[in-house]
Symmetry: C2
Subunit: 365 residues, 2 copies
């Protein structure tokens, strides 16, 4: 995917261009800044599939009337540590940030807090919302459902999204532990790379439209499905299905959003599912005070010790034993210094977006 | 594993015998009943590896001075919705039940509640504590760490336990959704079956002591390790490692229990790890009110609809598409009616236990 054709941009350039776009479709000044930062955090952390490459997708959702640039979001709360947020078709970046901030506020008083969000749209990388809590010394978790691409064990149908799980914990000297994972064997982004480069997919990644295991990444376009983490049932695929289910239930059933096969697609050219069971897509957030369990410095030291023990575990060959989040922190360091490589196709897409929205930008000079 | 040599016992017989054993080693009347019920719930639900087959193991932990039959457990709580429980070397069945009950009580007032437990012992199947909440109309989650058997991605060392994740949600007509899964590709019990029957293990289950993928289930005895869910990294093994890590951090780092390679072994003949980083093993529990998110009947109906949509998804061949928990509910129905098959080796072990503790039982007539 990397190559000499890829130009590198500074994170500030990407934030600046994204801001121009969000502003052009009517976001408030505050939401513009936040959305641009959340979107490009994916690029900064090395998760190219969820960053600026999706910017035009959000604009198309806006044009399709499915994304509200001026949402009036409403919390409903009947207990001190739990709330539901109706996101009023907000872009996920805003509703997720607002929801996690509310979790943190509730956790300050009660020790923990949970928010389920309905009527929202995609929120980029889940890890950043978990990280919001960790950066304030709390533990954070984030979940979202997504449009159906994944087949349950024994089924040939797409019933669940790639439904990610994210969890973040603060440490002492190290930057926070951040797990951010799709509940599928392979992320969709990895399949796109295989499709682009005409490579075969490893066993356990996908099945064809009849539910037969396949190594052809194009089967996904032909009605096939991604396999849940674990792949075939013999290798624990039913566990990945179970995890994806928990994420869908938290995000969709609890919030009043759509769930399962009714979760609306990210791409605006696909029709919305008929007979929806809720509103928009759903997220779920949890924050809890680490100092409600251990004195803050004790907790941070224990977390540091945990990380140290994993990082110093005996290696197979030369590869480092890493802690979840380490690869993304490395990517942030490198990309802050050297810039962010953007695929020529994405640059072309952004150039067209700029023309369409009458934006002038130094990005394409 | 099933065969004509296996005798079947009623659940009441197994509870009765377990009660005699717990009583004989000094449990209070109340704890005896609860521990016997929690232990044998595994047998009832078809998870033979975690039930009565482990009874003598708990007795050996008692003899080794590592299990306190009369624990004085203490909650520490500085916030309304969070607490830490020092289990005073209780058997896990008691501390886990007490902790989940406390989560439920906190959730009644705050909407959600969390308890981290330290200084505990193994608690059998995680699912039953999540189910405690679901049977009262709440959502429940349960986690525990366990002695190290699992290698992180890129490591040849055993650093984490099979660290299960359990989650349960109530529905309307269906019995609750119950996910209860080890964060490894294969449960240890499945490997024991392969060892007993001299079968090879599928790829992605285990590695040898050098970290090389192996199909020989005996490699685990020779210093090898179980692989995290996903298996090799190409198939998402780093995600299973990440999930097992989250479970270890919640259960061990938050509670003040041991974590990672310091978690004490279940078997009493293995020495305790040197330089412990905490007390005993650790658990973590969460309960939250479903009616804090949706009116109770609405939530239950949505959950029922979710289950129905998965169960009616198009099948590959004849196998049913199930919801997590369905196989265990089926096992409960069958075993309540037909009794519970117990392996002859386990019966022999129980007979020896009865002799040792001077228990007379009709179990062996």
């Amino acid at each position: 995917m990397r190559g000499i054709l890829e130009r590198r941009y500074s994170i500030l350039d990407l934030i600046s261009f994204s801001s121009q776009v969000f502003s052009a479709i009517g976001f408030s000044e505050e939401d513009t800044q936040l959305a641009a930062k959340c979107l490009t955090r994916a690029d900064l952390r090395g998760i190219d599939s969820h960053g600026i490459a999706r910017l035009s997708g959000y604009v198309r959702l806006f044009h399709a009337g499915r994304l509200n640039p001026r949402p009036e979001m409403k919390f409903t709360s009947t207990f001190p540590a739990v709330a539901v947020l109706d996101a009023d078709q907000s872009i996920g970046f805003i509703s997720a940030s607002v929801a996690m901030n509310h979790c943190i506020e509730m956790a300050k008083i009660s020790g923990c807090g949970m928010v389920a969000v309905r009527n929202s749209n995609h929120f980029g990388i889940a890890g950043q919302y978990a990280l919001m809590a960790a950066e304030k010394g709390l533990a954070g978790m984030a979940f979202t459902n997504a449009s159906p691409l994944v087949a349950p064990t024994n089924s040939s149908a797409r019933m669940l999204g790639t439904n990610p799980i994210a969890a973040a914990f603060p440490a002492l000297e190290s930057r926070p532990f951040v797990l951010d994972m799709a509940t599928t064997t392979a992320a969709n982004g990895k399949l796109e790379i295989l499709q682009r480069t005409a490579q075969k997919a490893p066993e356990g990644w996908i099945q064809d439209s009849n539910g037969k295991s396949s190594d052809n990444p194009d089967e996904l376009k032909n009605g096939g499905a991604l396999l849940p983490l674990g792949g075939e049932s013999q290798n624990g695929g039913h566990k990945g299905y179970g995890l994806g289910s928990v994420v869908d239930i938290l995000s969709g059933v609890f919030s009043g959003a759509n769930f399962g096969p009714w979760v609306p697609p990210f791409v605006s050219f696909l029709p919305l599912p008929e007979n929806p069971v809720g509103e928009g897509i759903g997220h779920f957030f949890i924050a809890f005070r680490t100092d409600a369990f251990q004195p803050e410095q004790v907790f941070r030291q224990r977390m540091e010790d945990w990380m140290k023990s994993m990082r110093s575990a005996s290696r197979i060959g030369e590869n480092e034993v890493m802690v979840p989040g380490d690869p993304e922190w490395e990517a942030e360091d490198i990309r802050m210094k050297d810039g962010i490589p953007v695929h020529p196709k994405v640059v072309e897409d952004l150039r067209n977006l700029a023309i369409e929205l009458k934006i002038s930008s130094t990005l394409f000079e």
